[in-house]
């Protein structure tokens, strides 16, 4: 009888792990923020945009709740996207989407309050590249619970950096937001390559 209980508990535990991986976590006990997977499949959860650099236009990586990963290059005029120059759509699974979202949550982007934002904006990069352009992150979580929060809230946050991620990381290696943004780039490129 004991053996059956043990097997059952292990099975339940494994099932729970799979569900957490597939449909998001809301675990605040370990000090991490958690989120529920959005029910709206069309919701754009993450957008990472690049403007400037040595080439014209804007490149965007968009990750949607239904697993679509859209990489598009746009022509722009006065900051507005006008023409799609190139477009590639691929599909990623929920587990991978969760990894991206949890990465951004762990870096603090879901809890990026005014005070922290001011702190970051007051920093100056001692090292930068003139040819690196602007990096812009948009994050949307319809149901997020912070590490110390008791209820859910929606998150919609934007964060941008000029002068190149590499330069900001070199200038301020201890700032997690900069490193996190730099790490997000290969993460999305890997997803693009995997699908």
């Amino acid at each position: 009888m004991k053996k059956h209980w043990l097997v059952g508990a292990m099975g339940l535990g494994a099932l729970l792990l799979v569900l957490l991986a597939e449909f998001g976590v809301k675990a605040t006990e370990d000090g991490r923020g958690g989120f529920s997977f959005p029910s709206d499949p069309a919701l754009e959860l993450v957008r990472l945009s690049f403007t400037g650099g040595t080439m014209q236009g804007r490149t965007e990586y968009s990750l949607f709740a239904d697993g679509r990963l859209l990489v598009a290059k746009y022509e722009t005029e006065a900051g507005e996207k006008t023409t799609v120059l190139a477009r590639k759509e691929s599909s990623v699974n929920h587990r991978r989407i969760n990894e991206v979202l949890q990465h951004l949550v762990d870096c603090g982007f879901a809890d990026l309050g005014d005070a922290r934002r001011r702190q970051l904006e007051e920093l100056r990069p001692a090292y930068f590249s003139s040819d690196a352009g602007t990096t812009w992150l948009d994050l949307r979580l319809p149901s997020y619970r912070g590490p110390t929060a008791i209820s859910d809230r929606s998150v919609e946050t934007s964060f941008s950096l000029r002068g190149g991620l590499e330069g900001w990381v070199s200038s301020h290696p201890a700032v997690p937001e900069f490193r996190c943004l730099q790490d997000l780039v290969p993460m999305l490129r890997k997803l693009e390559g995997e699908s």
């Binding site: 403007t51 040595t54 014209q56 490149t59 930068f128 040819d131 352009g133 934007s158």
Partner: protein
């Protein structure tokens, strides 16, 4: 023509100013940040200070002495395909020969234009541009601008400056409808004149002019209020459209910040050469003052390596190449009056400036020369034997 430009221009007095242009600027003097307009760069040793607008950035290792500076430029293993293009780019900067008509290929575009479709990026053009940053300390002559005031800053052809008011009043194209010319207007809040960080030629404000003018602070200025020819609003910059206006067709500064796929800029304009020479005047900004110095770029991996050229997966896919660098005081100066700054590398890079090319691009490496070691240019000093040409008689 952008609607906003047209509107602003139509609000102004429609007086045609004779075309005039000019500019050049240095790395670290103005960095565009998150807080609105471009703001001053900071010295690496004291980020609480700022780099004044009228500073000059000198090459790695410059300390104010008139000694010649040699910069060893090493090409990393795995990037050997760039070898010939890098050698040519190095030779071009060493020669400092100004040219016109340097912009060719499938498209010679300014930032406001849509370049023709192309697939390959010209390696020599990008290396020439990046060496301008990494080896000479030059910056783009044009500036970014958040025209829509939405946080997305874009390269424009307006001349570089700082302390400019936000849109819509900060920068406006003039009656000629060409960005980067002398009839543009740039304003601070309350209508004050912002700082130009671009040098212009006092004589005619033409950055494409090639003559025997000595390049120093008697012939070039950054002072909009003191030294611009009368009737002009602003220093202009060396983009292709201003070149056309001044009789220099298909010409664009190598340091102009945008390079289109298929575009080639393999030789320097006068503006590129003038700005490099301005730094070489030394501490006094005057030619012949006893503190002039020289810079020699050498393709070599011998110690000490100054610049390492390699390929990597750059974060911004729109960036063909990057040089991560900072600036610091060339020697002890009053922070508020400091004019001379030297390029420095991040400590983690061991004093070496990293010039990184985007490994995801389809590169055009250009044609290799048939002969090397100066044979085609007539420099046979490295050859052990030179035999006179044999010609057939009649």
């Amino acid at each position: 023509m952008r609607g906003k430009d047209l509107f602003v221009a139509s609000m102004g007095l429609l007086v045609f100013f004779p075309p005039a242009i000019g500019a050049g600027t240095y790395s670290g003097t103005a960095l565009c940040g998150n807080d609105g307009d471009c703001f001053p760069g900071v010295p690496a040793s004291n980020v609480a200070q700022t780099v004044p607008p009228f500073a000059v950035t000198h090459p790695l290792g410059y300390d104010g002495s008139p000694d010649g500076i040699r910069l060893n430029i090493c090409l990393a293993k795995g990037s050997e395909a760039f070898s010939s293009a890098l050698a040519r780019a190095i030779a071009t900067w060493n020669a400092l020969v100004p040219t016109t008509g340097n912009c060719s290929g499938t498209g010679c575009s300014v930032g406001e234009e849509t370049p023709p479709a192309a697939t390959q990026m010209d390696a020599e053009s990008v290396l020439l541009h990046e060496l301008g940053h990494c080896a000479l300390g030059l910056e783009h002559p044009e500036r970014t601008w958040d025209a829509a005031d939405d946080g997305f800053w874009e390269e424009t052809s307006f001349t570089r400056s700082w302390d400019v008011a936000g849109p819509p009043e900060g920068i406006a194209v003039g009656p000629d409808f060409i960005r980067g010319t002398l009839d543009d207007s740039q304003l601070q809040t309350l209508g004050m004149i912002p700082n130009s960080v671009s040098w212009f030629r006092i004589q005619d404000n033409n950055p494409f002019a090639i003559d025997d003018t000595v390049i120093d602070n008697t012939t070039f200025s950054r002072s909009i209020t003191a030294n611009l020819p009368s009737g002009r609003n602003w220093a202009a910059s060396a983009n292709r459209r201003t070149g056309e206006q001044n009789g220099a067709a298909a010409s664009q500064a190598v340091m102009y910040g945008l390079i289109s796929l298929g575009e080639r800029r393999r030789s320097l304009t006068a503006d590129d050469v003038n700005m490099a020479k301005m730094a070489l005047t030394g501490v006094d900004f005057s030619v012949g003052g006893g503190d002039d110095y020289t810079v020699e770029l050498v393709l070599s991996c011998d110690d000490p390596v100054s610049i390492l050229v390699s390929q990597a997966n750059l974060a911004n896919p729109q960036s063909a190449g990057q040089c991560i660098a900072g600036v610091d005081y060339s020697f002890a100066q009053n922070p508020f009056l400091a004019r001379h700054f030297t390029l420095v590398a991040p400590p983690k890079n061991g004093g070496i400036l990293f010039l990184t090319l985007n490994q995801n691009l389809d590169w055009d490496y250009g044609a290799d020369p048939v002969f090397v070691s100066g044979f085609e240019s007539g420099d046979t000093s490295e050859w052990s034997q030179v035999v006179p040409t044999i010609t057939q008689g009649p």
